[in-house]
C-alpha cells in the first residue's frame, strides 16, 4: 500500500534564515569554548571562574532533561554529589589516579541516574518532581549515615590532587590558572557532547516529548524509554560537574547532596534560560557573580538573588540568554 501522494518526493528547499542567531546556533560549541577560554580573565577571581565552570556544566547537563525533555527534576544534586564523593573516595581511600577517579565518578553518577530515572520517569508532572526530590534525599541520608566512607556531616576530605601529569608534563594543579584550564577541557567536552545530543535524532525525539507527550507516543516513540535515556545522560553530565568540583575543592561538602543544591541548579538554569543551549551556563555565571558581589554587602544575599530570580520568572521567562537571543539577536 503505497500512497501516490507520499511517493512524490519534491523537497521544497525554503531558504533558511541566516541571521546572527542561526550562526550562534551553528557555532555554539566553538563560541562557548572561546567564552570559557576568556572567562578567568574577565572575572574578579580565578576561583570564581572555576566555580562558574563547574556549575555551568551541571546546569547545561540538567537542562538536557529540564529545558529539552520538559522534566522538572528536583534531585540532580544527587548525581553531582555522587560524582564528587566517588572521585574523592577513589583518590583518598584507594589511591586511584585522578583521571580514573573522574571516570569512576562520572560512571557511578550516571548509574545512579539510571536507577533514579527508572523509578521516577514512570510518574508525571509534580509527582515526577517529588519522586526525584525524595530519592535524592535518600542519597543525602545514606551519605550522612556512612561517615566512615563519606565523612558524614563534616564532608569528605583528604584527597588533594597537587599535581597532574599530562602527556609527560607535570602540571601544578594548585595553581588556579592551570586548574581552570585543565577543568575547562572537561567542560568543553561536556558542552560538545550536549550539543551533539541536541542535534541528534534523539534530541528531536526529546523535544517532541516536551512539546506533546501524547502525540510523540502516537507517532511511535517509546516515551518512557526516551525519558529514561535523557535522565541518565543528564545525570551523567551533572556527575562530571561533581567530579570537577571534587578536584577543585579537594573537599566534598555533605551539602552538595542536599535538595537546596538541586534547587540552585534549577534556579541557575531558569535564570540563564532553559530554552537555549548556553543559557544555563550564563545562568550559573550570573548567579555566582551575584552571590560573590551581594555577599560582600550582606550575609542575607539570598534575599536579593531570590528577588531577582522571581522577577525573571515573572517577566523574562526565557531567562537572560534566551531573551537576548530572541529579542536582541532576531
Amino acid at each position: 500500500m503505497t500512497s501516490p501522494a507520499l511517493a512524490v518526493s519534491s523537497p521544497v528547499s525554503a531558504p533558511k534564515p541566516a541571521g546572527f542567531k542561526s550562526l550562534m546556533t551553528k557555532y555554539r560549541v566553538p563560541l562557548s569554548i572561546l567564552a570559557l577560554c576568556l572567562l578567568p580573565w574577565l572575572l574578579p577571581s580565578k576561583a570564581l571562574a572555576v566555580n562558574v565552570l563547574i556549575n555551568g556544566v551541571v546546569a547545561v547537563g540538567y537542562n538536557l532533561l529540564f529545558g529539552y525533555t520538559g522534566l522538572l527534576s528536583f534531585g540532580h544534586a544527587a548525581f553531582v554529589g555522587t560524582g564528587a564523593y566517588i572521585t574523592g573516595i577513589a583518590i583518598g581511600q584507594f589511591g586511584v589516579p585522578w583521571y580514573l577517579a573522574v571516570l569512576m565518578g562520572v560512571l557511578g553518577g550516571g548509574l545512579l541516574a539510571f536507577v533514579m530515572g527508572a523509578l521516577s520517569t514512570r510518574t508525571r508532572g509534580i509527582y515526577f518532581s517529588m519522586v526525584t526530590l525524595a530519592l535524592a534525599q535518600l542519597v543525602y541520608y545514606v551519605a550522612l549515615q556512612t561517615p566512615s566512607w563519606t565523612g558524614g556531616e563534616n564532608g569528605l576530605r583528604g584527597f588533594t590532587v597537587n599535581k597532574i601529569n599530562l602527556f609527560g608534563f607535570d602540571i601544578n594543579f594548585l595553581d588556579p590558572v592551570n586548574k581552570y584550564y585543565v577543568l575547562m577541557v572537561f567542560a568543553a567536552l561536556a558542552l560538545w557532547l550536549v550539543s551533539r545530543i541536541l542535534n541528534s535524532p534523539f534530541g528531536a525525539a526529546i523535544e517532541a516529548i516536551r512539546e506533546n507527550e501524547r502525540r510523540a507516543r502516537t507517532c511511535g516513540y517509546n516515551v518512557e524509554r526516551t525519558k529514561l535515556l535523557s535522565f541518565t545522560l543528564s545525570g551523567t553530565i551533572c556527575a562530571l560537574g561533581g567530579t570537577m568540583s571534587a578536584l577543585h575543592l579537594a573537599f566534598v561538602p555533605l551539602d552538595s547532596l542536599h535538595y537546596l543544591s538541586s534547587g540552585m541548579i534549577v534556579m541557575m538554569t531558569l535564570l540563564g534560560g532553559a530554552s537555549s543551549f548556553f543559557g544555563p551556563f550564563i545562568g550559573a555565571l550570573v548567579f555566582l557573580v551575584m552571590e560573590d558581589v551581594f555577599s560582600l554587602w550582606t550575609s542575607h544575599w539570598q534575599i536579593i538573588v531570590g528577588t531577582i530570580f522571581v522577577l525573571f520568572v515573572l517577566f523574562l521567562p526565557k531567562g537572560i540568554w534566551g531573551t537576548f537571543l530572541t529579542k536582541v539577536m532576531r
Partner: protein, 251 residues
C-alpha cells in the same frame, strides 16, 4: 483482498461501574472508508482509543492482519501500521510545521541515536515535504505550528498521522471546530486519502459522512446497533429512533 485487515471480537471497556463499550464485534476490510457515528457518549472515542492502543479493552480481542494485538504498547501501533489523529488538535505547537512532520517520520527511522546529526537523514526531510505537499501546507513549512489557522493545524495533524504510511488511518472528527470553507477543503483531502488507504472516521457532520463513507457503524450506549451502507443506515428504523431522531438538524 477479502481478508479483514482489522478485526475486533467482543470488545468491552469498563471505567469502574460505567460500561463504555460492550460486546462490539466487527471487522474492517482494506481500502474502505468506514464511519462510526452515534450520539455523544455512545463510545465512539473509546472505540477509537481501543483500536489505537490508547486503551486496553477490559475484555475481547483485536486482530490486525491476523495478529492478536494483545500486549502491544500504544507506541508500537504506528509501527504495525495503525495511525490516528485526535479530536482535539494534537500537534507539536512550538516546533516548525516541517519539524512536526519530520520528527514523526523519524520515529520509524531513528529513536535513540544520540550521535549522528539529525540533518544527515535527508530522506526524512524529503518525506516530510512530500507529506506537507499532500495536505497543502508546503507554503507554511517554516512557520511555527501554533501560529497556523485551526484548519491548517488539523491538516498538519493528518500529515503527521500519514507520514508512517499507515495501512489503517483513524481520524477522530477531522473537521471539529471548522467553518464551512475549511470543512470543504478537509473533505476534498479525505476523498483523496480514501482512494489509497483504509480509513476509519468518527464524525458528526452527517452530510459529509453520507458522501464519504462506504460503510457506517452506529454506536449507542456502548453497543453496536447498526452496520451497513449509508443507504441502509438512513433507512434503519432503530437508528432513526436513537440517533437521527435526536439530531434532526444534521439529517
Amino acid at each position: 483482498m477479502n481478508a479483514p485487515l482489522l478485526a475486533v471480537n467482543d470488545i468491552g471497556v469498563r471505567f469502574g461501574g460505567f460500561v463504555a463499550l460492550q460486546g462490539v464485534t466487527t471487522e474492517f476490510r482494506p481500502g474502505r472508508v468506514t464511519s462510526i457515528i452515534g450520539p455523544n457518549g455512545a463510545g465512539k472515542s473509546t472505540f477509537f482509543n481501543v483500536l489505537s492502543g490508547v486503551l486496553t479493552p477490559s475484555s475481547g480481542s483485536i486482530r490486525f492482519k491476523g495478529d492478536d494485538l494483545k500486549g502491544t504498547k500504544q507506541h508500537e501501533f504506528v509501527h504495525r501500521g495503525i495511525a490516528r489523529s485526535y479530536q482535539i488538535t494534537n500537534i507539536f505547537p512550538d516546533l516548525s510545521v516541517h519539524e512536526n512532520v519530520r520528527v514523526a517520520a523519524q520515529a520509524s527511522r531513528s529513536r535513540y541515536n544520540i550521535w549522528t546529526n539529525r540533518n544527515r537523514f535527508t530522506e526524512l526531510d524529503a518525506k516530510a515535504d512530500a507529506a506537507l505537499e499532500s495536505v497543502g501546507l508546503v507554503a507554511k513549512r517554516d512557520e511555527t505550528a501554533k501560529f497556523l489557522a485551526h484548519g491548517q493545524q488539523r491538516a498538519l495533524e493528518i500529515a503527521i498521522a500519514l507520514i508512517s504510511n499507515p495501512e489503517v488511518l483513524l481520524l477522530d472528527e477531522p473537521t471539529a471546530g471548522m467553518g464551512p470553507e475549511e470543512t470543504k477543503e478537509m473533505v476534498a483531502l479525505l476523498e483523496k486519502l480514501a482512494a489509497e488507504r483504509t480509513i476509519l472516521l468518527v464524525e458528526h457532520k452527517m452530510k459529509m459522512i453520507l458522501g464519504l463513507s462506504d460503510r457506517i457503524l452506529v454506536l449507542h450506549h456502548g453497543r453496536l446497533i447498526a452496520d451497513g451502507t449509508p443507504h441502509d443506515i438512513q433507512t434503519d428504523p432503530e437508528v432513526r429512533r436513537v440517533y437521527l431522531g435526536q439530531n434532526d438538524g444534521y439529517a
